[in-house]
Symmetry: C2
Subunit: 381 residues, 2 copies
């Protein structure tokens, strides 16, 4: 505490240079002084989520990564394919901090009673710039972790939990009664499966391998469709018929999966109606939201699903704005209450800030492999 308003802390920075180079480094930045309504957090754990990788690595070719320096002075560079630079115009030559969320200890607090009440507490937050040793946050925005929870328990308690809860909330708000999810064996997907089992919401889990299907079935999932299996479309139609799912959240984005989902939902709706032919298709509205881009290729829609359909982007922040402060607080409270059960995250590696800049480790967390998840420990030497 005493040294928090002097001294400096490390902060991971991502820089895209106009010449087509990505540079990651550790900046030594002054430890922030919390404003009246803020607290200063010593960050103890921050996860590498898929949603962090875009800002962290951009579309750099990691096979070209080169390191110079060691420890705090580590700098890693990698080439960015020239044709991909256009999309990065908005961030060129800006040294950007990274890391959406994390947890740590409040080591200093602003004068407000709300801030003062947090002194010494273990809290989590999602202010961005969390791949750092210190971060100031609004006292109103932090979540005090429940007794017995560690920083690792709370590090991922915003992005994935609120996204999974947001999917179920969106389902209800838009008048659907069951939902589907792709890349469903992900950390987020497992969480969504636990939420749906607990809440009695029917969920169609769409995965890409028998191993992922088994993981979910073992976790109690009732409806699992494996796109690598023969008869996938027929299995989808049956699962949509059995559950009535008419909304899906898609982490993949590219290819024909969204189109297949809409087509299978339409086929299930037509079977259920069993009625007269309409060349405009059923009147059942079918919705797919793309919230990730595991496949960055184009989305191809065959439009073989009538006229009552929608496809769109889905993002956590606008959703939280839409449900308002009270709605967001209700979801946050649920996350805190079920932190070690429904919303438990498991990490396969814990790394320091400097280790996050080592090419072999970068290749590991950039694989986005199901079941692998990295946790940055900014206090680790």
């Amino acid at each position: 505490m005493a040294d928090s308003n002097q001294g400096t802390g490390l902060q991971l920075r991502s820089l895209v240079k106009a010449g087509g180079e990505l540079e990651l480094s550790l900046a030594k930045v002054p430890i922030p002084q919390p404003a009246e309504d803020e607290v200063l957090v010593r960050v103890e754990a921050s996860p590498i989520n898929p949603s962090d990788l875009g800002l962290l690595l951009g579309p750099a070719d990691l096979s070209t990564a080169e390191v110079r320096g060691v420890g705090e002075d580590t700098v890693v560079t990698a080439r960015i394919p020239p044709q991909l630079m256009r999309a990065l115009a908005g961030r060129v030559d800006q040294s950007l901090p990274v890391g959406n969320e994390g947890a740590g200890v409040v080591v200093e607090a602003g004068a407000s009673p709300q801030a003062q009440a947090l002194m010494g507490k273990l809290v989590a937050g999602v202010p961005g710039a969390m791949y750092a040793q210190y971060r100031a946050m609004k006292a109103a925005d932090v979540l005090v972790l429940p007794p017995g929870a560690t920083a690792a328990d709370g590090a991922s308690c915003f992005v994935n939990p609120l996204t999974a809860l947001g999917m179920v909330e969106t389902m209800r708000m838009e008048g659907h009664t069951a939902l589907a999810h792709t890349a469903a064996a992900s950390n987020l997907g497992q969480m969504l499966n636990r939420i749906c089992l607990k809440d009695g919401v029917e969920l169609v889990n769409i995965v890409r391998s028998p191993e992922q299907a088994k993981l979910l079935t073992d976790a109690g999932a009732k409806h699992v469709c494996d796109s690598s299996a023969p008869g996938f479309i027929e299995a989808l139609i049956e699962a949509f018929g059995a559950t009535g799912a008419t909304i899906a959240f898609d982490a993949i984005g590219g290819g024909r999966l969204a189109s297949q989902i809409l087509t299978a939902m339409e086929a299930a709706a037509v079977r259920k109606a069993g009625g007269a032919f309409s060349r405009y298709g059923s009147t059942t509205h079918k919705q797919v939201y793309i919230y990730g881009g595991l496949d960055t290729g184009p989305t191809e829609l065959m439009r073989s699903f009538g006229m009552a359909w929608g496809l769109g982007g889905w993002l956590l922040t606008p959703f939280l704005i839409k449900i308002g402060q009270a709605g967001a607080a209700r979801l946050r409270q649920r996350v805190a209450d079920e932190l070690k059960t429904t919303f438990a995250s498991h990490y396969t590696a814990e790394i320091s800030l400097a280790e996050a800049l080592q090419p072999a480790i970068m290749a590991g967390y950039n694989k986005r492999a199901t079941g692998e998840k990295y946790l940055i420990r900014p206090g680790k030497a």
Copy 2:
């Protein structure tokens, strides 16, 4: 009137046979007896809209068309490619009447005062099955044509006028302030241009040839972008920047045009904001509604437009249900008031029911060429 509850009338029928054949014929059906709240209309004019062609011709290969019989006994058949039969399963072996809308004279009326008040009036309606000599309609659903209007003036006063008005209404209901339209030189597009000019709504007209661009510019359109011209995308970005259009209605469906529209809207939003980089793109919601399928190929989305976007189907009937009876009545009244100005339709050919079954004429109306529009005259010999 005297003979309307005896005798028969001709009704065009479209039949898809399980063997993969389309058959069009003229059925001799009993002239309907209007129910208490109905009127019987002697149909004088009914247009062939793009929205009629799907039901009328399906995906038949007209180059294989063969005719037998003449006059009222004309029957035309054509092959349907086997791979397209699956999508037609719902209509196989059903002899279906065709023709969404039209106008004619009330020759008999049910007992209700509302129906009786329509006796002898020239009315328009959109009950379906209008490629026929007689059609019973709900009295509450017909539009009495204004003095001086002919059946040809009123034949197309539902589908295109209400669709064009529905686009502007949808724009307002969803919080947008300007809109874009593709295949914008169509009969519908010209109507939309006149509505927007009259109402002071900014419209970006997207066309596919210099001739179509000239047609709209000559009609007073301010923003016309020709996808066949070099610099099309930049022209789109500038038009979206100038108008603030963030919603588009797309008649084409297939290919990359919807994606290009979203990308250009996003680029215009980013230029306007001129702010910090966000890898999730702007917060401006961009929407494209596909309401037609001039290109039946897949829709390809490059997803280079951030996360705040939507794509969906748009159809007139659910829109009219959404705005309710009062809303629909308001739009219908406007159509009646401006029938010979804003909502004027022009026909390039008038044909009898039997002529609609002649292959050379079928090829003509199936071209869906901009500026060509066919009117069926069921009373014509």
